[in-house]
């Protein structure tokens, strides 16, 4: 089942904390930030079903991308072999 990176926003920090507890949302620690317009926002990884549940519970969500797909895309950008092996060669 695909999982998505989403951004949850709410004016209340307490509401966002509650969603993390009650819906067992996996948040990304680097994606938490105060937002001067929206209040607070957190990035999280949830399933399509999870997105439905959160929306039904009234949370404002923006869906950003399918994490498995972007992960596979990025893995194709990892170097093959070893560019530093002899003959000594700098990148």
């Amino acid at each position: 089942m695909p999982h998505y990176l989403i951004t949850l926003t709410d004016m209340s920090r307490g509401n966002l904390t509650r969603v993390l507890r009650e819906h067992k949302v996996r948040i990304l620690d680097h994606g938490r930030r105060p937002d001067s317009k929206a209040g607070y926002s957190v990035d999280a990884i949830v399933s399509a079903e999870g997105i439905k549940e959160l929306k039904a519970a009234g949370y404002k969500i923006s869906k950003r991308y399918d994490v498995e797909k972007i992960g596979k895309d990025r893995q194709r950008e990892v170097g093959q072999g070893n560019r530093y092996e002899k003959p000594a060669r700098r990148r």
């Binding site: 990176l5 920090r13 966002l16 904390t17 993390l20 507890r21 996996r26 948040i27 990304l28 620690d29 680097h30 994606g31 938490r32 930030r33 105060p34 607070y40 957190v42 990884i45 950003r64 994490v67 972007i70 992960g71 596979k72 990025r74 893995q75 950008e77 990892v78 170097g79 093959q80 070893n82 560019r83 530093y84 092996e85 000594a88 700098r90 990148r91």
Partner: protein
């Protein structure tokens, strides 16, 4: 040009410490093998012309899925050593570091760079599950089906979060081995965090620490467990009286003490780094304390800064986290821009340390 893979980072460090750079770059072999048997390396940059030089410790690759931190630090090492040997200086976009700046940095600082703390996890992330952030521990209380400890929850700073924090607070650490932020069975249970500590214990010069992470475009300063305050030293992570009170935003029951001059110097240096990043990349990194939205427990930056408070004889280490990039998993094309801007920030930090 793609991301450096795990073997390439290690090879890059060996090349960085070989001729013609070996007079001022030394390879450091870390003593603790990873769970999959890998040997980790760091490098020390600095000529031996001056005793008692200030030390800067740069860390990357703690979280396995934040690949670019290792690339940034390898690039940083290569830029410095090429410029020093060739006496060329470094130009990054509109920012120029003169040959004399590079000479000052190498001749007066001791720079420790540990770019790939968690090679097992980084390898797994690059080859199998790109989201993977932990190490690859499978020993109990983990298992082959639930492997991994989050290295940046395994440091000895308020590690036992259910004891130290308010029970109603969401602390981004976990006691459950299958969870992405599992803290491990005890502080410093993991070879990766032990290696980070080994450098701190063996290089007494270190007075500034930067841990690179992705993402958020932010520079974070102490503390991460609660909001800071500069007036009451008794309100401290060492004081058990406050167990159960920590981590609540906006209350007066607990705020972590930080000396006013430490806060000021940390923010001043962060401002310099932010300005350099903005000049080179046009990106406006935020500066705030590591406590944001939710408190953290067992992180490298809080541990480093806490060492001089736990041990009065220990050297004070001002500690920061740079959260590079706007998003997780940038394309390498995006990463190249980030590498340049963060390198400019780190060089600015070095120059500021070497001239203050």
């Amino acid at each position: 040009m793609p991301y450096l893979n795990v073997d390439e980072v290690e090879s890059a460090l060996s090349a960085a410490a070989a001729a013609p750079f070996s007079d001022f770059v030394q390879l450091i072999t870390l003593p603790h093998l990873t769970w999959e048997g890998r040997t980790c390396h760091a490098v020390r940059i600095g000529t031996n012309e001056q005793e008692d030089r200030p030390g800067l410790y740069l860390l990357g690759g703690v979280h396995a899925n934040e690949w670019g931190s290792s690339d940034i630090l390898v690039h940083f090492i290569e830029q410095i050593e090429q410029a020093y040997v060739n006496e060329t200086g470094i130009t990054i976009g509109p920012l120029t570091f003169a040959p004399s700046d590079i000479r000052t940095i190498v001749d007066t600082l001791e720079i420790l760079v540990f770019p790939q703390v968690n090679p097992d996890g980084r390898n797994f992330s690059m080859k199998h599950d790109a989201e993977w952030r932990k190490n690859r521990r499978t020993q109990p209380p983990n298992s082959p089906s639930t492997p991994g400890v989050d290295i940046n929850r395994n440091f000895d700073f308020l590690w036992d979060f259910p004891l130290h924090f308010n029970a109603d607070v969401y602390v981004d650490s976990s006691t459950i081995p299958s969870q992405p932020t599992y803290r491990g069975p005890s502080p410093f249970s993991e070879p990766e965090s032990q290696n980070v500590k080994w450098i701190l214990d063996n290089f007494q010069s270190i007075e500034f620490f930067v841990d690179l992470h992705n993402y958020g475009e932010a520079i974070l300063h102490s503390w991460g467990d609660d909001e800071g305050q500069t007036t009451n030293p008794q309100m401290s992570f060492l004081n058990q009286q406050f167990d159960g009170a920590r981590g609540i935003e906006g209350d007066d029951n607990y705020k972590e003490f930080i000396a006013a001059n430490d806060l000021s110097s940390s923010r001043n240096l962060a401002n310099r780094v932010r300005d350099a990043i903005r000049t080179v990349g046009g990106r406006d990194y935020d500066i705030y304390s590591a406590f944001r939205f939710a408190p953290t427990s067992g992180t490298s930056d809080d541990y480093c800064y806490s060492r001089h408070i736990v041990d009065n004889n220990g050297k004070k280490i001002i500690s920061q986290v740079i959260e590079w990039g706007r998003d997780p998993w940038p394309t390498y094309r995006q990463m190249k821009k980030i590498i340049k801007e963060v390198t400019a920030g780190l060089l600015t930090l070095c120059l500021r340390m070497s001239t203050s």
